[in-house]
Subunit: 171 residues, 2 copies
Amino acid sequence: MADEALFQFLHSEIIQYVNCAETGESENGRCVSKLENMGFRVGQGLIESADCHWNIQNLTLNKFTKDTPRFKDELDVMKFICKDFWTSVFKKQIDNLRTNHQGIYVLQDNKFRLLTQLSAGKQYLEHAPKFLAFTCGLVRGALSNLGVKSIVTAEVSVMPACKFQVMIQKI
Amino acid sequence: MADEALFQFLHSEIIQYVNCAETGESENGRCVSKLENMGFRVGQGLIESADCHWNIQNLTLNKFTKDTPRFKDELDVMKFICKDFWTSVFKKQIDNLRTNHQGIYVLQDNKFRLLTQLSAGKQYLEHAPKFLAFTCGLVRGALSNLGVKSIVTAEVSVMPACKFQVMIQKI
């Protein structure tokens, strides 16, 4: 299937387009933030249309719903993101999920698809934030529509492995 | 699978982003042309990576290759676009392919996926070009990497049906 390729090429186009509209180092943060926002809306959309994709109902953690919610707690939501959600978007699961049980979760992907296009050399590390911003937003948007407010950041040590850190925001 | 939804949401984001960067009616043409160019590069990319997706080799019409080309003529290339390529991107085949046998092909999709988000009312017809530009480029890019130079335009009569007209450019 060309699905994966289609997503990768579209993602590259978005990075290129958002980036080329901005010039200069000082604009870099704004560019990353635009990508993050796009990801956020796409993540929200994916969860909104999730009923038909994942055949799940009562997806959110909303305690006021009459029916039994699909997720029993925050950790359960994170597991859904690591398995179903990640597989649906990136065709693989998150390789490792860790938590401090105090609202911080670290999701490690040992071969993150959107970084495999980049060369593994250290000189490309500086470009990594652009390639991670959309996905940070994607996770934040998905979580948001699952009733979990969060801040999501990412870091790369050795490409194409990377870690996404999710900090839950208690309301 | 969320693949289709992912593509649709990304496509919407691109339209929104390209559009919101431009303001005023006079900029509309430029916006459509940017979307077309993005589609062109994605179409090229999909064909470049096609060997692994479609298990085909010698994809182009290049007569100088030692091996037998996959396509025997232009019509054969168009059939590939209508079937394999369209299915891969839009999860359905083109419903009708017509040609005047003089280099013009009309590809009709009776339920074009990227228009189904728009309401069917006539008042939305004016927005249709934005929703078709990326795909026009996608087809032009795919054809280009299959060795066929073309101009691709699109028109909508009753949403969500639409026709893509491919004019082959003889070199």
